[in-house]
Amino acid sequence: MSSKSEDGSGKETELWELRLYVAGQTPKSLAAINNLKRICEEKLTGRYKIEVLDLMQNPKLARDHQIVAIPTLVKQLPEPFRKIIGDLSNREKTLVGLQLLERSEN
């Protein structure tokens, strides 16, 4: 089911599995959910899956990914595995982190 990403920006057909760790409905958690949905709808239409995990309800869920700061986004698939910390409000930083955009040189 997993297919390797070769060029970093991902193939048009592979499924993206994303996991977002939030803390209840804190403002940054809500912002992260919104920002992530917007980016996915735009760049990954129809081939992404977002799992939102509320650590307020079950803090033990963080054990999988060594979460410290919240919100944190984890890209599980396609590889490579990546963590992006914060509310994803910086669009360019988020796209670079997800490897949907080449890092700009400056």
Binding site: A23, T26, P27, K28, K83, G86
Partner: protein, 414 residues
């Protein structure tokens, strides 16, 4: 050589891993210092817990601050740890004054046992009770208080306070309407009987005159009741217009005595009147001010058993010579102390009426107070208790004496 290569590969991998971890740490610091995170997961003794940064709960605080119920958290010993703005409003206290005080100190003595029961049920999960709370000015209002324990492992208790005054006012209005219907019916029944009697007795002159007189009296009372009701409605809606002119208070009193003479004489009361020798000028609508005093006199006559004493006096206030006090006192049934602040309350009277033999709605008093206020005055009631008479005092601002004209000249430009 192979060994060296392996070492080199291992070192390179380690280096890449370290670099990755460093990058991650750097990203975290950037995200934190950029304000992009507002919660952290901390671990102690293998137990994870989410810590939320101050301010992350601000949206909820805002909701709680703006909601229409009072909200409060209490420490285990019943001291207020947090209270929202609405609770300060409900208790007529300035923002911030509630923290540290005991919630029980805002509960009326009678309701304290109920409050303790409510706290007990909070410790077992939650409950609710109707309590009377006291405002900072001493007035009391009914409230529904819901309790809940905030966290499973702490003794912090959370209360939600809903003001029930409106519901109570609604109830009072219903009672008022019921009593009003009875009052109107009481006037109508003798009139209907009268008509039947007239039909029966034909035209025996003296009987007809007596029945007609009775019907006329009933009709007068009914018309007065309905007029008062209309006036109260007009004053409440601000639709009453005063035709103010310079008037002497003694003239007002004399006019009022004239229109109340009938009921005072009918009930065989003695009347003692004390008027000042000098003129007490006020700016007033003569008819409306007469109406205030007539209502007070009729009230005194009505609530004093036959053959009582009614005193009327007009004096300057000793401590404020620019104000006059008109006092109407009687030797009548008096007023219970807890009723005193409410005798002018239109809808509270009906409630108390059932326990008062004379019944009545007290519309006249409500109207009198509102009219006195429209004249820049106040109307207050006093009584030493049931059976010990009552007195009603109207305080009004006096106009400056005849000197007023000269003082105006003094201040005009030359």
């Amino acid at each position: 050589m192979k060994l060296e290569e392996k070492t080199y590969d291992t070192l390179r991998d380690e280096n890449a891993a370290l670099r990755r971890r460093l990058e991650e740490a750097e990203e975290m610091i950037t995200a934190i210092s950029g304000g992009e995170v507002d919660a952290f997961l901390v671990r102690n003794d293998g137990d994870e817990q989410v810590l939320v940064l101050d301010g992350a709960d601000r949206p909820y605080r805002l909701i709680i601050e703006k909601m229409q119920q009072g909200a409060v958290t209490l420490t285990a010993d019943g001291a207020i740890a947090y209270a929202n703005g609405r609770l300060h409003d409900l208790l007529a206290l300035e923002e911030g004054l509630l923290v540290g005080s005991r919630f029980a100190s805002h509960v009326t003595d009678a309701a304290v046992p109920l409050y303790h029961a409510l706290m007990e049920s909070a410790r077992n999960g939650g409950g609710e009770a109707e309590l009377e709370l006291r405002r900072s000015d001493g007035s009391v209002f009914p409230a529904l208080v819901t309790s809940a324990r905030l966290f499973r492992h702490t003794e912090i208790i959370c209360l939600i306070v809903t003001d029930l005054s409106l519901q109570k006012a609604d109830r009072q209005k219903d009672e008022f309407l019921a009593v009003l219907a009875h009052e109107i019916r009481n006037y109508l029944a003798p009139m209907r009987n009268g008509l039947q009697v007239l039909n029966l007795i034909g035209s025996k002159a003296e009987d007809v005159a007596r029945v007609r007189q009775m019907m006329g009296n009933q009709m007068e009372s009914l018309v007065r009741l309905v007029d008062d009701l209309l006036d109260v409605a007009r004053v409440t809606q601000g639709k009453i217009e005063l035709r103010k002119e310079r008037t002497d208070l003694s003239a007002v009193v004399l006019r009022a005595l004239e229109s109340s003479r009938h009921i005072i004489e009918e009930r065989k009361h003695q009347l003692q009147v004390e008027l000042p020798s000098e003129a007490f000028p006020v700016e007033a609508d003569l008819l409306r001010l007469v109406q205030v005093l007539t209502n007070l006199l009729n009230n005194a006559a009505k609530y004093t058993p036959s053959g009582g004493m009614i005193r009327v006096s007009v004096r300057r206030l000793p401590d404020r010579p620019n104000r006059a006090a008109i006092r109407v006192s009687d030797s009548g049934v008096g007023i219970e102390s807890e009723m005193l602040p409410r005798v002018f309350d239109l809808f509270a009277q009906a409630e108390a009426g059932s326990s008062r033999a004379e019944g009545g709605l007290g519309i006249g008093l409500t109207l009198a107070r509102r009219l006195a206020e429209l004249h820049g005055g106040i109307l207050e009631a006093a009584s030493e208790g049931p059976g010990r008479g009552s007195s009603f005092t109207v305080e009004l601002p006096l106009l400056p004496g005849p000197k007023a004209d000269t003082s105006r000249q003094d201040t005009s430009h030359s």
